[in-house]
């Protein structure tokens, strides 16, 4: 019997390469990915960095410790306060500066406000990436309230530059407590709305559930951290592991999920906003009295040695590593950025899925390109 041949069998498929970015609207900045595709199925992803490289680490070697802080705003600009705090904590730890409880509480509150602002923005952009335009507007509406709090107290909306060595730059504004309380009331009403609008949407569920799966072992092997790692069941919250500032005196839960897919990463971030609200609620009524800034020397010199300070930013474990030769500026400074580590997992998450799923995965690891590419 003559063997029947189909047209599809005769057509030979071939793997090909496709450039995504650097100016692609879904790549959240200037990020280029070379995709190896078989039809529409992803075989390999090769991220190409360097389009927004500003050599911040090298610039830090020429600046003194006070001047470094404003550069860290420009790394992960959505968690600017936590980055400032990391450098400030490192220098305080290394040079033995004791800060008061008031400073610790102010820093913690600002960090949590920044985290909520960052996660709201991520939620809006996540909706945009999956095709829902409304979320972007609603997220920016709620984020605006935090921006107002920041602007009133810190003087800037995004690159706050608020934490300085030995405290915070200005004392809290008199409206701060009232505004934070108003925000908590407002945001508690809006968060369930987020769920109704996007989390329960059947299209969104189908776009995210079972997509971009990564196991706990792989997450640890690739060094995933922050909400991305916690969605795979990897307990990596620095606020719990190595508490800094006032995190040891507040009660909050480390949000975890075990599914490891895109929806788990989404879920972890939404629940983290609830936990941040919980921390704010505990602290807003009990801000201790005291000075907002400790007097420090004009030129701060760290003793010879190596220092490391880790903080939990909105994206994960941000580390500052300094080698000091005893001078007023570091001999070598390294930023361990969470975004760069999370990017390594992207390849594992996306192989075998379609390009549209890559956009979802890319969005759920919450990329900020200046954070990866310093």
């Amino acid at each position: 019997m003559e063997q029947q041949t189909f047209l599809a069998d005769k057509i030979r498929t071939q793997e090909y390469f496709l450039n995504m970015g650097p100016q692609h609207p879904a790549t959240h900045g200037v990020m280029r990915m070379v995709l190896k595709l078989d039809g529409e199925i992803i075989r390999n992803i090769d991220p190409v960095l360097g389009y927004i490289h500003r050599s911040i680490e090298k610039m830090c070697e020429h600046d003194n410790y006070k001047q470094i802080i404003h550069l860290t705003d420009r790394l992960d600009y959505l968690s600017a306060h936590m980055n400032n705090e990391a450098v400030a904590l490192l220098v305080e730890k290394a040079s033995g500066i004791e800060v008061s409880d008031r400073i610790k509480v102010i820093r913690t509150m600002m960090s949590e406000l920044t985290r909520i602002a960052s996660h709201t923005l991520w939620w809006g952009v996540m909706g945009m990436d999956t095709g829902a335009l409304t979320t972007f507007m609603y997220a920016f509406r709620d984020r605006e309230l935090i921006n107002d709090i920041m602007e009133e107290t810190c003087g800037a909306r995004l690159t706050m530059n608020y934490s300085v060595i030995g405290g915070v730059r200005y004392d809290l504004h008199e409206n701060f407590v009232k505004r934070v309380k108003d925000f908590i009331v407002h945001f508690k009403k809006k968060l369930p709305e987020y769920d109704r609008l996007l989390s329960d949407n059947v299209i969104f569920r189908k776009r995210t559930e079972g997509i971009g799966y990564i196991t706990k072992e792989e997450a640890i092997a690739f060094g995933l951290n922050g909400p991305t790692g916690r969605a795979s069941g990897f307990a990596c919250d620095i606020r719990k592991l190595k508490p800094y500032s006032a995190y040891d005196r507040v009660e909050f839960q480390e949000v975890m999920a075990t599914e490891g897919d895109a929806f788990a990463r989404y879920k972890v971030r939404i629940l983290e906003m609830w936990e941040s609200l919980r921390i704010l609620e505990q602290l807003v009524d009990q801000i201790p009295e005291g000075e907002h800034r400790v007097k420090t020397k004009a030129v701060i010199k760290l003793p010879v040695g190596e220092y490391l300070q880790r903080v939990e930013t909105a994206r994960g474990d941000f580390g500052v590593y300094v080698i000091s030769d005893g001078g007023s500026s570091p001999y070598r400074l390294k930023f361990r950025s969470p975004g760069f580590a999370n990017l390594h997992g992207l390849n594992k998450m996306s192989i075998g899925y379609k390009i549209a799923d890559l956009i979802v995965n890319f969005s759920t690891i919450d990329v900020v390109v200046p954070d990866m590419d310093r």
């Binding site: 001047q67 509406r141 530059n161 609008l197």
Partner: protein, 163 residues
């Protein structure tokens, strides 16, 4: 059955989302109660920035066109990216006859400034501070290089020279 169930479930979630957006749409159709968007160029006259807003660095002058800057150059030294240049000269004081630093031009490059605020913090006389103006758009980059001390200004009497 699950096919029809999916359709019903899908429409339900769609209607849930649309009820939220529709609610906001009709609630704010005639009043701007929940709207936080500012109609920026229209509200330019009544728009007031927060007191601590970092718009630009300015030098304070009093009604006699006098400032407090004694050209100690602390701000020039601390600036991380060289946005401040201070031009000064030594002039003999008519009373004591000693040579004294006198500020000629406090040149501020707004185009390079990152608003880190170190210059304002380090100023011993509080001669400079934050200005709330944010209308910095120009066609020429050179327009952003400013001289902070006003023409013909002089130092306020009583400001001590820093050693």
């Amino acid at each position: 059955m699950s096919y029809i169930g999916d359709i019903i479930n899908g429409s339900k979630t769609l209607l849930t989302g649309m009820s939220i957006t529709g609610n906001y749409f009709f609630k704010n159709l005639f009043t701007r109660k929940d709207v936080i968007t500012q109609l920026y160029p229209d509200n330019m006259n009544e728009l007031k920035m927060f007191d601590r807003f970092k718009g630009e660095v300015i030098m304070f002058h009093d009604e006699n066109n006098q400032h407090k800057c004694d050209a100690c150059t602390n701000c020039e030294i601390i600036c991380p990216n060289g946005s401040i240049e201070i031009v000064w000269e030594r002039v003999a004081d008519p009373e004591t006859g000693k040579n004294k630093k006198v500020l000629l031009n406090h040149i501020y490059h707004l185009e390079m400034c990152t608003m880190c605020g170190l210059c304002i913090e380090v100023c011993p006389a509080d001669a400079i501070g934050w200005g709330q103006d944010f209308h910095h758009v120009t066609r020429d980059r050179a327009d952003l290089t400013k001289v902070l001390n006003k023409p013909g200004s002089s130092i306020m009497p009583g400001v001590k020279e820093k050693k």
